[in-house]
Symmetry: C2
Subunit: 712 residues, 2 copies
Amino acid sequence: VSPQMTRPALDLSRLLHPSGIAVVEASADPSTMAGKPLWALVHFGYAGAVYPIHPDLKELLGLTCYSSVAEVPQPCDVALVATEPGSVPGIIADCGGAGIPFAVILTAGFGESDEAGGDLQREIAAVASAHGVRVLGPNCQGLLNARDNVYAGFSGIFDNPGLRAGPAAMVMQSGFGFALAGAAEQAGMGFSYMVSVGNEADLTAVDVLEFVLEDREIELACVYLEGVSDGDRLRDLGKRALEIAKPVLVWKIGTTTAGQRAAASHTGRLTTRNDLYRAAFREGGFIEVTDLQEMIDIAQAFRMQRLPEGRSVGVVTVTGGAGVELADRCEDRGLSLAELSGSTVERLQRLHPGVLADPGNPLDVTSTSLREPGLYRGAIDLVLADHRIDQVIACNGGIQGEIAAPATLDLVAAAGPSPKPVLVCWTPRAGSSDDSLRTLEQHKIPCYATPARVATAAAALAGFAGKLARGPIDRSPTRAVDRRRLGPLPEEGVLCEHLSGQVLAAYGIPVARGHLLPGDEVVGLRESPLPFPVAVKVDSPDVAHATEAGLVRLGIRSLDELRRASLELLDAARALGLNVHGVLVQEMTEGIEMIAGTVVDACFGPAVVLGLGGIFTEAVGEVTHQFAPFDREAARRMCDDLRAGSILRGIRGGPPADLDALADALSRLSWLAVDHLDRLAEIDVNPLFVRQQGRGVLAADASVVVRRGAME
Amino acid sequence: VSPQMTRPALDLSRLLHPSGIAVVEASADPSTMAGKPLWALVHFGYAGAVYPIHPDLKELLGLTCYSSVAEVPQPCDVALVATEPGSVPGIIADCGGAGIPFAVILTAGFGESDEAGGDLQREIAAVASAHGVRVLGPNCQGLLNARDNVYAGFSGIFDNPGLRAGPAAMVMQSGFGFALAGAAEQAGMGFSYMVSVGNEADLTAVDVLEFVLEDREIELACVYLEGVSDGDRLRDLGKRALEIAKPVLVWKIGTTTAGQRAAASHTGRLTTRNDLYRAAFREGGFIEVTDLQEMIDIAQAFRMQRLPEGRSVGVVTVTGGAGVELADRCEDRGLSLAELSGSTVERLQRLHPGVLADPGNPLDVTSTSLREPGLYRGAIDLVLADHRIDQVIACNGGIQGEIAAPATLDLVAAAGPSPKPVLVCWTPRAGSSDDSLRTLEQHKIPCYATPARVATAAAALAGFAGKLARGPIDRSPTRAVDRRRLGPLPEEGVLCEHLSGQVLAAYGIPVARGHLLPGDEVVGLRESPLPFPVAVKVDSPDVAHATEAGLVRLGIRSLDELRRASLELLDAARALGLNVHGVLVQEMTEGIEMIAGTVVDACFGPAVVLGLGGIFTEAVGEVTHQFAPFDREAARRMCDDLRAGSILRGIRGGPPADLDALADALSRLSWLAVDHLDRLAEIDVNPLFVRQQGRGVLAADASVVVRRGAME
């Protein structure tokens, strides 16, 4: 797929850069929903035409009024609508008639309020589609184009003329996003566009993001996200962001709802939707943020338009304590302070044998030595030039006054010719070094007050660069396995373990050998169906995991024991009133217990989940997701994503586990989920034993949930 | 111990509130180390006497000069010293002669630079002690008392007159602390004292903290900490902080491997395991912070002088999106949004049946409804009054202008009579609602720009309140076990597993039954010394953990197998050139594998460590420490501290583990470590099997390291 192919077909130019705007139910009172934008459009420098719509008035704020949208002359690209909900569909139809391509519906009282509102919202979508009008909202707070002073909305920020425009765009689903964007603007971040999409009756946050990301002057987009309805579109956007190397900072809310907690309390159901968002963010050009300062700080770093090649950082500091703190905060964020190369060490020693007698990373040049001409610049130059160093953090501590200005010039001079990012950690007192701060800003060298903040920004650069280097995931992988029929499945419900194992086996996923022993054959059993030791489990469609129900006996070593255990289990199951097929006699195995499974998400479709299995699934609470289908390489990435993946790579004298076999099984699982999407609601293998390298994997307890669907 | 008993004996009043200050090697040039404080003391409103010391000049900045400290008249409480290092001991002796009780040594070039500097630093300590002078520094940046305009130091902040004084104090080991304190002051935090302790030749950060914490007007202390040399003193301070309910915000640097490496090269301080600092912080009145904003935000919350009773938060918001975001951030930080009680729900519905038809937590009153008189105040009142709610976060979103002022008054009126904390999340644009922000400040209601920040502050309040409620740990617990002799131990080194087990057994810690089989008895073995199944391990003083070395066979079930495995292991061990005592035949057991052990830290003394065992120790990477000795209750707290502790409490259908037995074993381990502190360098039990409730624990692999020490 060529980059051109994925560019958005949707042209929102006239929405974001309207030549004329009609304001429906306009008012001269700037405290009303429609009065506020009218006031701002008239007074804050908008160069296009403004058409107040009012049933009675002839004139408002010196502008000619029109009695309805239908009468508005051209050019008019946007109708801003703040009337009562019931009138909105008619106004949208009028827009179509008048050739107004976009309506921005500020009015609330639609899908977010009640059922009738939901109906009205669907009507809006239908009318808009029928009349060729694209709709932003309803229940949105409008849009603001700070480049062209398009103030087409009503939140607090619309009271302020002369907002800083800049190379960022912000798209938000919740109105709270405007409060955040406003605070970010005030803190120095320049937004060309801020767009609130509200209920997304028509245009979605992803639509708007896709469009603004292609804007030449936009270097970075931010999105305040509640959720999307089409996970594939979000993944497309993430892929596109990587293709054009523009990061999308995503502030996702709703990451820890009570419902997710409830789901997590049941082992094996750790697959909450938010994990899937995380998976989408991880594979694409997204950077997740959870706070305003973080968003601003990361955006500042990307202003440099430089990316590091790897995760190593060189720290040059004027105070040793800050060097330690920077080392901590970098390591916290997965960055490393690489050892300087031998030649850099030698050159530093030659640069100043006194101060730099034993140069390391962090490199402390001391604040008093800042008075030595050439020292600071030389030190930064040398560290930047070291091939082991991917980016540099220069810490000026709390210096200010006469010592600050030359240090800043040194810093800028050193940073200038390098292709590597240079970030500054500096906390001068306001007013003490404003010229220096301006100098840094002019050179787009970002400056942060604390080690934590600068390290967060540096890590975001490294993370994005890593994604660019790795490239987007292959979304059309080669098949790991041909499509297979699954044989007859019950209409719906949880399959018993025996049948669940057959589903996995059909896709070549190794399953522990098992023999289903009907209940009435137990007493007369003359020989174990499998060599000892064996496990015995109740096989019942009513029990997803026999272990959790306590209906399992492990390590059985004699026929007597087998008979006794089987009878006990059958009794226990009958006492619980379960439907029982019999007992499953299963080979015992060992290895590292993992959990692997599939989920089918309404928004993202099928995905595979992987985590530590057995009792550790919940206690460790770490799982990773990958969208299906995927190949072995992507499966290996899943293992790398898990912190617990170190167990698989072999620790405490243990041999490495069979990662190849695990990757193969995961990839097969992904194809199984995709091929039988209409029937397989969920698969849960826990434990999946991962044995030593070369010995493969073995599913020891599987549970498949089928749902009504097309016939096989 | 009565609270009075632990109050510091050290009186630093004259250091922090000096009646007169001598400035050694004074200069009229404010850019020099001694010239800067002289300038500031003369010009920034210090009311005490200032005595410039200069060998030649008669007068400096209009003040009479003295040729040496010995000539300075009274009152003089502090000598500020910035001369070359070699002259410092003599000046300190002169201070003693002149009756000057404190010397503040700004000069660098002591312990932090080289061996000669270290000797000179020890000389300073000796001279100070001999002459009755207490010393701050050397290599410190001085102290600043903003109440009395005592500018006795030289970092950037000393250039600024009229610093805000306030109920906080900051003590710092690294000069970078001044940069941070300065930035915090500028952001609205008032410090009465900022003290840099430098190399701590005499006075330490803990000395200063202990003193300032008792100051009536100090409500909270901050410390920028590299490390302490006396862990017990730090623990005492933490205990005292809880007794007088004043939090100590601790910003500890060197918390990661990279940071510790950097710290080791930057300071001569002991790099104690950070886990032990964490343990000290956790048990005492400390709150750990890692960034400036966090420090400021938490300090703001404590200004209210209100603490919540539990961890539940009520959120009242004017924007639904912010409510979700607040719920996320609260949950991230271990706070819960409790369900409102039925009566609160009813009252809210009665308050406004339209807006509050279905009230929940977060409670969205919507920004347009802020215009409804009484609604906002009533909603906050009711949520605050709910017994399920411990504190309230009120979110004003981005509202500003005319709507903001009455909302703020409502908020203040509701918060006023309640004993519960009320925190505000609000991002008005600068200049748009300054009166309202001032109103909040006057009422000490803290206001934060984002959900993450307000949640961090609320969590800090809840955490501190929880510690107050739980009280300090019992540092003189009842003995779990009498002091026992350990029998003959080798001079030093790692004990073989057999002997290690005996050490544990002596203190009543259950050890897996084992039989040491000499190598020459293996071939002729006629009977297993223990019932099958058994494990066999090489028993060698050269192998701390046989498992890690691969010298173990598990699940042996026959005499043949036992002989074969033993011979193979002995061959393997001989091939590795190990000293071998024989093979240890051990009973097999099962249960949850934990790691338990002891360490002896130069700074904190003996401590016990607990974590998940086996392959999970490293992969999960979560351990907790407790200082020895301790009782079972403190041991139970260790289990609670572990996230993986949920495994012990029983998950995935598993029965709960024997927590009582585990707590007992940990407490015994703590006594073992304390009683034999002079010989036992380290104990490592991995795995310690924790079996089902009632079945106890069993140490299956232990390794004890002894060192030279007093004879038993």
